[in-house]
């Protein structure tokens, strides 16, 4: 029993890590204030992406994903369908939690909907929570770090190549998700790569088919 407890303790400790250190910018950068990268949505938008699900470097599935994200209300609608048009998952998420409309196996597993909506939020919406630190990594990449209200940390990093990386860490600093995207341009959501860390890690390669602003109809006056 003691052995088992020891193994569990070792595993938990190994799962934790130290957050990457953020430094003051070098003297060359000091003249200009650090601007946090902002690739996130500013208006309610509908996206249709192809999604290439990869694990161990190999494609496991290809699907079509539809996302409607509203930064003002922080609400999402999401659907995943096969090439043949079969909807395998559909859900909405907002302040009242996640409501699954349709989930066929294997998309009906516990936590799938919550994890998926968390991933969509990470990709499309400015991270909620307090900005606790900004500066540069050792590489010189600009980074802004936020403390998430529900625990954990999110770094938004502007690379030298103009691309933006978003990283989500657990409460104890273990890297959970990495999102790579084009940057602060209007093409930010043209290609998105989301990587899940861990032994059962996977990645989603999302390629934009089309996007459009969504204008909500005003309520009818009686």
């Amino acid at each position: 029993m003691k052995g088992l407890c020891f193994l569990i303790s070792v595993f938990l400790l190994a799962s934790c890590a130290t957050l990457p250190a953020i430094q003051e910018p070098s003297s060359a950068h000091v003249k200009e204030p650090i601007l946090c990268p902002f690739p996130f949505l500013q208006e309610k938008t509908r996206f249709i992406h192809t999604i290439d699900v990869q694990a161990a470097g190999q494609t496991k599935a290809v699907m079509i994903g539809v996302t409607v994200a509203d930064p003002a209300s922080r609400m999402f609608s999401c659907a995943i369908m096969s090439t043949e048009g079969m909807v395998v998952f559909e859900a909405v998420a907002g302040s009242e939690g996640v409501k699954v409309i349709r989930a066929l196996p294997p998309f009906d597993k516990p936590d799938f909907a919550r994890n998926m909506m968390d991933d969509m939020e990470l990709i499309f919406l400015e991270p909620a929570g307090e900005l606790v630190e900004k500066g540069v990594f050792v590489s010189g990449d600009v980074v802004c770090r936020r403390r998430q209200e529900q625990g954990g940390w999110v770094d938004v990093v502007a690379g030298h190549d103009g691309r933006v990386q978003i990283r989500r860490y657990s409460e104890c600093g273990a890297l959970k998700r990495t999102v790579n995207m084009d940057g602060n341009s209007r093409d930010a959501y043209k290609t998105i790569e989301l990587r899940s860390a861990g032994w059962l890690g996977y990645s989603l390669m999302m390629t934009l088919i089309e996007s459009e602003m969504v204008r909500d109809m005003p309520p009818v006056q009686k």
Binding site: R46, I48, T50, D52, Q58, T59, K60, A61, V62, I64, V66, V68, S77, C78, A79, M81, S82, T83, E84, G85, M86, V87, E90, R102, L104, P105, P106, I209, E212, V214
Partner: protein, 196 residues
């Protein structure tokens, strides 16, 4: 009386299905382009996909999507394989997608043979009009929450399938229209075997 006026002429006799089977037996091959329109509440307009469909009697099918996402399903002799793009080439999909397609394509091959009323999972009704319209409704709970009904329009001219409408729910459906249909023209057997 009002019901009689608005009700189309329905005939759900075994003879009608027998006639369809007889007419369909005259089709040995079929090639067609298809346009698929996916409608859902989350979409502002239908999502359009297109590709090519090949059939050779008795049960060989190649269902090839070219846009917006490539995928190929080959079916025949009781086997179904689905191919998806990976690293610039097409690889076999080993996930559940192929299994799901096996069920669907098993039915499609049956439809091409005019066997609309042989799958016990569905109740089929037939309605004559400009086109023959078959409506298939799931009988058991297996399809509950997946498919409400399937409507198949059959050409009166040559008994080939003109369109398929799959209604998943009140807010989600898939319409597949076949165009440039060519029947009984020789198809190279490699079409049903090779995916590049």
């Amino acid at each position: 009386m009002f019901y009689l006026l608005i009700s189309p002429v329905w005939s759900v006799s075994a003879d009608d299905f027998a006639k369809l089977r007889k007419d369909s037996a005259r089709i040995s091959t079929m090639t067609a382009d298809f346009v698929q329109k996916k409608s859902m509440k989350i979409l502002s307009k239908p999502l359009i996909s297109n590709g090519k469909f090949y059939y050779a009697a008795p049960d060989s099918i190649r269902w090839e999507y070219s846009k917006p996402l490539k995928s190929v399903v080959l079916s025949g002799k009781g086997q179904t394989k689905r191919y998806i793009p990976s690293g610039g080439k097409m690889v076999e999909d080993k996930t559940g997608g192929a299994k799901a397609m096996q069920i669907v394509l098993g039915d499609v091959a049956g439809w091409m043979n005019g066997k609309y009323d042989t799958n016990p999972a569905f109740t089929a009704t037939i309605r004559e009009g400009n086109d023959t319209m078959i409506t298939m409704t799931p009988t058991g709970k297996n399809m509950a929450g997946m498919i409400e009904k399937i409507e198949i329009a059959i050409s009166q001219k040559n008994a080939s399938v003109k369109s398929v409408r799959i209604v998943e729910s009140a807010t989600s459906e898939t319409q597949i229209d076949f165009q440039n249909v060519v029947v009984n023209k020789s198809i190279d057997p490699s079409v049903f075997q090779v995916v590049q």
